[in-house]
């Protein structure tokens, strides 16, 4: 008689665990469906995908993607090379298409889930909890959104995870040294997949330092030497462009409110695993020894604060999600292990409580397609509603609310992409497309990486004159804009020389197709000003033309500002100065000295150094058609 309640509880526990695991397997199925839909979709689903494909294509040709952003095709990558190189073996299967990298990321995500399951099972010897921990990876909204994209993030997380797994076995009686070396190799791979993994390197070394300071110092020095040597080699091989594009271009503006919002989303969506992971961290900190996984979780959670950077987002939390999946499993395993001795009566209820908590976690992260016979009915059953949408009318629900990722792209989206490609192939000129996949599908060079240009522009290290000169000449057959992330003068030049010819809606975004303006008038505008700088730079013998000011007056002249000052620099020295003012600019010449008025053309008035070399003045007169 006394065993009946116990048997009933045990039976209920098994049923609940089975049900809960089935729910999480459902999320895995949704992830598969999403991945399949993306494998079929040939255009950018996320704006960065095409650029990463272009990086792989450049590597396949034996070229670096770390290039001079100021010279045609004005393109460079800001990420490490590992992911783009790993995609190359898939090119023979998928071709040089987005599907190759998407499949690679999909595999990396699967490998992360499997590894989490194995790690938790080895520690807890509890298969249901291990299974739920691993399946939680796919159920996370954050992981789901980016899991099958041609982005390097999931591959970085896989290398991070493998590094932490390896370092946790630093004291293996036979393979301790091998495990440390393996961990450092994985950290190196993670770092050259994406720079964000630096926090995991710090976490792994911090763990090793707690256990064996000498080994940590030796390993840290070895890793730093290897990473530094690779960095210096790549920087030398690319003429310094690796540093500019991987470091300078990644120093973006920071908005703490964006980070706070994303932290809020992380905790509300992953309340169970995050809560358990935090609790387990403090348990280990005060009552046990800190494990590599808890330290990793703490570092990853702190590092996620970088999500406040411009251009960053939920992907910055995926490392923390993965670590939380593991340590939450450890926490529950520990609870199940300790409870019978400490709280014998309550222990029996754990078998009921744990699956119920995971069901609540599953509810918090709910996301699913909302149409079709299965998912439509399911959406109705859970109160979401058949056909419910959180984004642009696509039948997809996500507990995050509005999100641009997660829905399934359609055949109609692909057709709309084909329409954009048809514009891009209208003639032989290159196309200026804000997303790379259109240019790639059109068989044309990828011209510009807009966010890279914008980041460099914001850091004051981009001269867009050559690009704007091409826009001024209408050297592109079409311009395709989406988010308009180009630097302001580039956007101004596009607006001055191109006009809308079509609007195409694809994947919920409006793509503006612009063709060359038939009549641009005299072209007395920003586009021409930057083009003039480029012409001068091409014609001047050596040196560079520097824009010293965009809002000044010729030296010594009184009058309003609004003139631009060009400086011809040779060997670090200024050899000629030219002021270009609007045609209607008025000022009074100085009584003595100052700049000399040398004439005007149809757009501007020109001034230069009073004592300028005659050749320099003649060159300016000839280039810009300056008349007295």
């Amino acid at each position: 008689m006394t065993s009946s309640p116990s048997r009933l509880l045990s039976l209920a526990s098994r049923i609940l665990f089975a049900l809960t695991i089935a729910v999480f397997v459902g999320y895995l199925v949704i992830f598969f469906i999403y991945a399949l839909a993306l494998l079929r979709f040939p255009y950018d689903y996320d704006q960065g995908e095409g650029f990463e494909l272009n990086d792989s294509i450049l590597f396949s040709r034996g070229e670096w993607p770390y290039r001079d952003n100021e010279a045609f095709p004005f393109y460079a990558s800001n990420y490490g090379p590992v992911f783009h190189l790993l995609a190359l073996p898939l090119f023979p299967i998928f071709g040089p298409t987005l599907a190759a990298g998407r499949f690679l990321s999909f595999l990396a995500t699967i490998a992360i889930g499997v590894t989490v399951t194995v790690v938790v099972e080895r520690r807890t010897r509890d298969r249901p909890i291990a299974a739920l921990s691993g399946l939680m990876v796919f159920a996370s909204n954050f992981v789901y959104h980016i899991g099958p994209l041609y982005r390097q993030h999931m591959t970085m997380v896989l290398f991070e995870l493998l590094a932490v797994v390896a370092i946790s076995g630093y004291d293996h009686p036979k393979h301790g040294r091998r495990n440390i070396v393996l961990s450092m190799v994985f950290l190196l791979l993670a770092g050259y997949t994406k720079q964000l993994s630096a926090a995991t390197a710090a976490a792994a070394l911090a763990f090793l330092f707690l256990r064996s300071p000498k080994k940590a110092i030796a390993s840290g020095l070895g890793l730093a030497a290897a990473a530094g040597a690779v960095f210096l080699w790549m920087n030398a091989a690319t003429g310094g462009q690796w540093f500019v594009n991987s470091i300078t271009a990644n120093a973006n503006a920071y908005d703490y409110r964006q980070a706070v919002t994303l932290y809020g989303q992380f905790f509300s969506l992953h309340f169970l695993i995050a809560g358990l992971a935090i609790g387990y961290f403090f348990y280990e900190l005060y009552w046990d020894r800190l494990s590599a996984y808890s330290i990793w979780f703490a570092f990853a959670l702190a590092n996620a604060a970088l999500a406040g950077k411009w251009g960053a987002g939920e992907s910055y939390f995926v490392t923390a999600v993965t670590a939380a999946c593991i340590t939450s499993g450890f926490a529950l395993g520990k609870l199940k292990e300790r409870a019978p001795a400490r709280w014998p009566r309550a222990a029996a209820l754990l078998g009921i409580l744990i699956p119920l908590l995971y069901l609540a976690q599953a509810w918090a992260v709910r996301h699913l397609p909302t149409d079709g016979p299965v998912f439509g009915a399911l959406a109705d059953a859970i109160g979401v509603g058949h056909g419910a949408s959180v984004y642009a009318g696509y039948p997809y629900f996500d507990s995050i609310g509005y999100t641009q990722a997660g829905h399934l792209p359609t055949e109609a989206d692909a057709s709309q992409g084909d329409r954009i490609v048809a514009h891009a192939t209208s003639d032989e000129r290159p196309a200026l497309t804000e997303e790379a996949s259109f240019a790639l599908r059109a068989g044309k060079p990828v011209v510009t990486n807009p966010t890279q240009l914008l980041n460099l522009w914001n850091n004051g290290v981009l001269d867009p004159a050559e690009l704007i000169a091409m826009i001024d000449e209408q050297a592109f057959n079409v311009v395709v804009l989406r988010a308009q992330f180009y630097p302001p003068p580039v956007l101004q030049a596009i607006g001055a020389r191109y006009e809308p010819i079509d609007d195409v809606w694809m994947n919920g975004f409006q793509y503006r197709i612009l063709g060359p303006r038939a009549d641009v008038g005299a072209g007395c505008d920003e586009a021409r000003l930057y083009a003039m700088k480029h012409w001068l730079e091409e014609a001047a013998a050596g040196g560079v033309i520097r824009i010293a000011s965009r809002d000044t007056a010729p030296e010594g002249w009184s009058g309003a500002t609004g003139a631009t000052e060009f400086q011809h620099m040779t060997g670090g020295e200024r050899v000629y100065r030219l002021w270009i003012a609007p045609i209607n600019w008025e000022g009074t010449r100085p009584a003595s000295g100052g700049a000399a008025f040398i004439g005007r053309n149809t757009c501007f008035r020109f001034f230069d150094d009073a004592g300028a070399e005659p050749e320099a003045r003649l060159l300016a007169r000839r280039l810009f058609d300056i008349r007295p």
């Binding site: 256990r211 703490y256 800190l290």
Partner: protein, 64 residues
């Protein structure tokens, strides 16, 4: 091997550095428009790390 007490001292040092960094941001010119929200977050984070470290000092030579 690092002990709980040593870890406590290390974390107190880290927390103090975070606080000093937040306070020094004005001095080194990272911000020049008063005490900003990021500095407040820095102070809170540094204080939090120190608070978290204090109990470790009493845990003596147990391995961290």
């Amino acid at each position: 091997m690092i002990t709980k007490r040593q870890l406590g001292f290390i974390l107190i040092g880290v927390g103090a550095l975070v606080i000093a960094g937040a306070l020094a941001a004005n001095v080194v010119g990272a911000r020049d428009a008063g005490f900003g929200p990021l500095q407040t977050i820095g102070l809170a984070a540094g204080g939090g790390i120190i608070l978290m470290a204090l109990p470790l000092l009493k845990l003596g030579d147990r391995p961290a």
